[in-house]
């Protein structure tokens, strides 16, 4: 989403909380090479903080014993890692073939209008961020929208209105 070349520094040290620390230690035993933990560690970070900061990249590199550049490389290559904070509700609309055929554009247009932001942006109050993403693998129930990771299938503007109304 948007600029994937810049890391943001929080100015605060980062470390895993107890739960993520335990999961990190469980997983690292499963791989013969420690660098295999780069993707899982980025996921653990994002689960904990919602996004991945410059401090987190350095911390992961230290924990694994690798170069920060290798962690950075993965954080930027894989588009699901957020390199800055998303909205409280992060909305992903699938833009690919089957969803496109079943009018995903109506959903995108509605959201742009309703929230007042373009895909790739976050609303000023921080409540919403919007993203158009590639095929989400729910083509049989297109169009599909993912809000904070949860799938909503066979969407249309009416259903989306009701869904947004439920969010606090």
């Amino acid at each position: 989403m948007s600029d994937r070349s810049q890391l943001i520094s929080t100015g605060e040290p980062f470390k895993f909380d107890q739960e993520r620390d335990t999961e990190f230690e469980r997983l690292i035993k499963r791989y013969p090479e420690r660098e295999s933990m780069i993707l899982p560690a980025l996921w653990l970070t994002q689960e904990q903080e919602g996004w991945i900061s410059a401090e987190a990249i350095a911390y992961i590199a230290d924990r694994i014993g690798t170069f920060a550049s290798k962690v950075f490389e993965c954080a930027t290559f894989y588009t699901m890692y957020h390199l800055h904070p998303m909205g409280k509700y992060h909305i992903c609309v699938c833009r690919t073939l089957s969803c496109w055929l079943r009018d995903k554009q109506a959903i995108v247009d509605f959201l742009k209008d309703e929230i007042g932001i373009e895909p790739g942006q976050k609303s000023e109050d921080g409540r919403f961020s919007l993203e158009e993403v590639e095929c989400l693998g729910h083509c049989g129930t297109a169009p599909v929208v993912q809000i904070n990771g949860e799938f909503h299938e066979e969407m249309d503007v009416e259903k989306l209105k009701a869904l947004l109304a439920e969010l606090n």
């Binding site: 997983l27 499963r30 791989y31 013969p32 090479e33 660098e35 295999s36 933990m37 780069i38 993707l39 899982p40 980025l42 996921w43 690798t66 290798k70 490389e73 993965c74 290559f77 894989y78 588009t79 699901m80 890692y81 833009r95 690919t96 073939l97 089957s98 496109w100 055929l101 079943r102 993403v133 590639e134 095929c135 989400l136 693998g137 729910h138 083509c139 049989g140 129930t141 297109a142 993912q146 990771g149 949860e150 799938f151």
Partner: protein
């Protein structure tokens, strides 16, 4: 037309839970498995004619046979659950509805190939699915089907879920391996093939979720029972995903070899809203499109698709009705593949970008006839000139639309021709 081989437990309430799955036969093949020699298992799978269900359709048993013997290195199994090809949405049903069928398949495969470590690579977008899968794996460990002694037998097996994070290219075998190793998912040059040098430089077998999930049936009922479904060269059943402009889109398990249009009509309810058919994408967005005329004679198997110069692919069928603007559809496709290019090979990284710029220009109404020809030329210059087939996954279908629906592309640029002609007068 529908059959219930892989999907037998999909309709059960809580069929994903070990207790219910066991009542319906889950893990029932293990005693038979461990009484067999690994080579016998491989022979049975070869005899079944099971072909890789990820898209390439390579015979599964033959692939296993490529493993070198006596290397002294560990053998790895990677289960490909990346499922990112647009119009493909079959594997997630297995992950959520009957994960134990897949875990049983992993045990069968691991025993056959002598592997004690499996990594299941699942796409990052599958958030609820990864939780369901992990819960089933935890159950299997708890019940002793995974771990130091699989079902009490002298066979150790560890299964680890590795989450991707939004890169289509990681569905490519070696891109997937790179990703497990903690790198960007940039595919490797082959040879060496993964069977010889794969994960961590060790012999590795990579199989699709559905291929693996087909194994318990084959082992339980035998190769002949599996071959009773499908055609001679395309045996068995497949989880077809039907999407786009049909009345009843969804996932349907069918034997291979059925007539495509009959399936669209009888299984998926036909073209929606009483409209007429304009085209069918037979096996995921990377497969060349079929015109209604071509579709009349196609059957859903590898041979028929090849005869019609397209591919069975992942079995993701997309139905296009008369209203579809093929030029804009091609724009949507090129956008996808350009976005997903890993950036390693210049023809793909730059070429797909050029194609996107040109098609956008055409869509804006600023294109010329030479742009359409340039697109065709680019397809030829990009295809098969890269490390992996991602670029071909774009150029093959794009060429098919350009050739089969040329009129529509010409119409977008014809205005320009009349203007040019007027200027010359």
């Amino acid at each position: 037309m529908e059959v219930k081989i892989l999907s037998a437990k999909f309709d059960l309430e809580d069929g994903h839970k070990l207790e219910i799955a066991k009542q319906h036969g889950a893990y029932g093949t293990l005693d038979k498995l461990f009484a067999m020699k690994p080579e016998e298992v491989i022979e049975e799978v070869k005899a079944s004619g099971l072909r890789g269900r990820g898209g390439a359709g390579f015979p599964a048993g033959v692939k296993w046979g490529f493993l070198p013997k006596g290397t002294g290195k560990p053998v790895y199994l990677a289960v490909n659950s990346d499922e990112s090809e647009p119009a493909t949405f079959k594997d997630r049903y297995i992950l959520v509805k009957d994960p134990h069928m897949m875990i049983e398949g992993i045990i069968i495969c691991s025993y056959a190939i002598g592997s004690h470590d499996t990594y299941i690579y699942i796409r990052g977008e599958y958030t609820s699915q990864v939780k369901a899968l992990q819960a089933a794996i935890d159950e299997a460990y708890e019940a002793g089907y995974l771990g130091d002694k699989v079902a009490g037998h002298d066979f150790k097996l560890e299964v680890t879920v590795h989450r991707g994070a939004g890169a289509y290219v990681c569905g490519e075998e070696t891109g997937l391996l790179e990703s497990i190793e903690g790198k960007k998912g940039q595919p490797r040059a082959k040879p060496p093939f993964p069977a010889v040098s794969g994960l961590y430089g060790c012999p590795t077998i990579i199989n699709n979720v559905q291929s693996i999930a087909s194994l318990p049936f084959i082992l339980e009922k035998g190769a002949e029972a599996y071959k009773a479904y499908g055609t001679e060269k395309s045996s068995g059943t497949h989880l077809f995903g039907i999407s786009g402009h049909v009345e009843k889109p969804g996932m349907y398990e069918l034997p291979l070899g059925l007539p495509l249009l009959e399936v669209v009509e009888k299984v998926a309810g036909g073209v929606w809203k009483g409209r007429t058919l304009k085209g069918v994408i037979p096996g995921g967005s990377s497969t060349p499109v079929l015109t209604p005329d071509e579709a009349k004679t196609v059957t859903l198997d590898y041979e028929s698709m090849a005869e019609h110069k397209t591919m069975f692919g992942s079995g993701g069928i997309v139905v296009l009705d008369e209203t579809v603007d093929m030029v804009k559809l091609v724009e949507n496709l090129i956008y996808f593949y350009h976005h997903e290019s890993c950036g390693q090979c210049t023809p793909c990284r730059e070429g797909l970008g050029w194609m996107l710029k040109i098609i956008k220009k055409v869509v804006r109404g600023e294109g010329e006839m030479s742009d359409i020809n340039l697109l065709l030329e680019l397809c030829d210059n990009i295809e098969m000139k890269t490390v992996c087939v991602l670029s071909a996954a774009c150029t093959m279908p794009v060429r098919s639309y350009l050739v089969k629906f040329r009129d529509e592309f010409d119409a977008y640029v014809s205005e320009d021709i009349s203007t040019a002609a007027a200027n010359q007068e």
